[in-house]
Subunit: 317 residues, 2 copies
């Protein structure tokens, strides 16, 4: 028997097992919008007058998010950070630009190598942090800094339910309680140098953001980043997919159970004092030794990378 849409009883095009539901095209788009609206309202993510900066990668999640925010009427500009991953980065940028052009939206473009003197493939070959580690650090830094400089009220990222569950899973396996204490759909701007960060897609599963793009005709980069293969988060996603297969709803109850019952109890573990980086002026954790000058993780990582890349140093200045 063909599946029927839970809302309108038309033929369904997608099943959402964890909600024991199936939807036709229009009702599915409505359902995704509803999840995002609920996320925004529940955690007071965005005010109607906010200037919103959407971190876009060209992938399904961030483009779906930008689309949803524009449809909901937010003043949302995109920011694409070029990571220098060859043709992959080029194609990602083009897709973001095409998305913006088709909607008359504004896309800011930053370039890691031009502005900071290294690309992610170069970082990957230098040891130290993993390339995913350097990439995440670089994005957080550039997005926050660009939002401050551009006068944006909030940065939104496309982290979906699967992303959030996988990160929580990794942190929980190590009981990295201070990282866990910071994992929340909203990170308030607790310091003048920090912009508020929100994750309006945390209630939407990965396959649902993909379906959203397909059904709305949004062209996105389907391939994973070529550097990501075999990374820890991918492995954790696979493990969670296995658990989900055996018991549908596992990911949902893992992430939501954490947010509802444990996050509050672990909150006290996030006790980092903040300070200004002595090199770039951005906000960072205060050093344990009050006599030493604070240097942020980005500047420390960058100086390690650029020291070994003398040609690139000139580009940064």
């Amino acid at each position: 028997m063909a599946m029927r849409c839970k809302r309108c009883r038309q033929a369904a095009v997608i099943e959402v097992r964890r909600h024991n539901a199936a939807f036709c095209r229009d009702c599915f788009l409505h359902y995704v919008g509803q999840q995002v609206t609920r996320a925004i309202a529940k955690h007071r993510m965005l005010a109607p007058s906010d200037r919103v900066l959407v971190a876009v990668s060209g992938g399904k999640d961030s483009l779906a998010l930008w689309d949803l925010l524009l449809e909901l009427g937010y003043r949302a500009d995109g920011l694409y950070l070029s990571l220098g991953i060859g043709a992959y980065s080029e194609r990602s940028k083009q897709l973001c630009q095409a998305f913006a052009d088709a909607r008359g939206a504004t896309l800011l473009v930053h370039d890691l190598a031009a502005e900071h003197g290294y690309s992610i493939p170069e970082a990957a070959s230098k040891g130290g942090r993993s390339s995913c580690g350097v990439c995440g650090l670089s994005k957080r830094y550039v997005f926050n800094r660009a939002a401050l400089q551009g006068g944006y009220d909030v940065v939104t990222t496309g982290h979906n339910l699967d992303d959030e569950a996988a990160v929580l899973f990794g942190n929980t396996l190590r009981w990295d309680v201070s990282a866990m204490a910071r994992q929340f759909p909203v990170l308030e701007a607790t310091h003048a140098g920090l912009v508020k960060k929100v994750k309006p897609l945390y209630r939407v599963a990965e396959r649902e953001t993909a379906a959203y793009c397909v059904l709305k005709g949004i062209d996105y980069v389907v391939e994973e980043c070529p550097l990501v293969a075999g990374n820890t988060q991918m492995r954790h996603k696979q493990t969670l997919n296995q658990l989900e297969e055996a018991a549908p709803g596992t990911k949902h109850s893992f992430l939501f159970g954490y947010l509802e019952r444990a996050a509050e109890l672990l909150k006290t573990a996030d006790v980092a004092a903040l300070a200004e980086c002595s090199r770039c002026g951005m906000t960072t954790q205060a050093p344990e030794d009050p006599a030493s000058a604070p240097v942020c993780a980005f500047c420390r990582s960058r100086s390690r990378l650029v020291k070994t890349l003398p040609m690139a140093e000139a580009a940064h200045r």
Copy 2:
């Protein structure tokens, strides 16, 4: 090249990857004894004068534990609870008895069907809790009650590192924070009707208790309980084994990270008030409605089971 013992440089018979070590027979037995001694000391599990009741199933963990406690000089009696699982239970009881006889130790034997009117296979066929659920509930009840009646100071169980990690994993996937708050190597007797419970093997991996028995010539039931196949805890053990394979030490850091960094923060979630069961007099959670008579989970489960087994009711009286 043959592995060498980390302590004495003789040929090794077993590798312990998470400690980056290998041991010869004697040094391995020493290592296991050391882990147990450390567990006992760190959590003040046992005093030298304590009368100790060891819950034994005939499996590797509980017989290794009993052996270790006797070798360390504790006054340790065994308690075997017959669950009525046909030849499996018979063989388990015989092995416990043979172990006790060979050491001149005391084995108490209880019988679930004779004393309470149902066996675990009967419970398994009745719906309600899973058979593993009824079995765990019955054991906790019978061990606690027998220890109280026999004047024992403490009940020890053979839960090993893999058991504890798997239970924690299951509770964490659901963020059952009150169950998590109670998961600790020591449960103090917080009420006159509760006996202190301790898990001296929580630092020893499953394959290490098996190796301990093999190397000491302890005969144990090798087969898993025939009712356990495909249960949730087995599945969680498999998942953790996969994670351990990809990153040795995962189980250890998951369990120990919890105990060291998170248990304290979650402790406030264990807020159950205690009361006496109006049927059997044992300690139980106080009911939410103060006007209703407290009935413990064991008596509730038992009355459901025995109602459907009228022949068995007579046996209980």
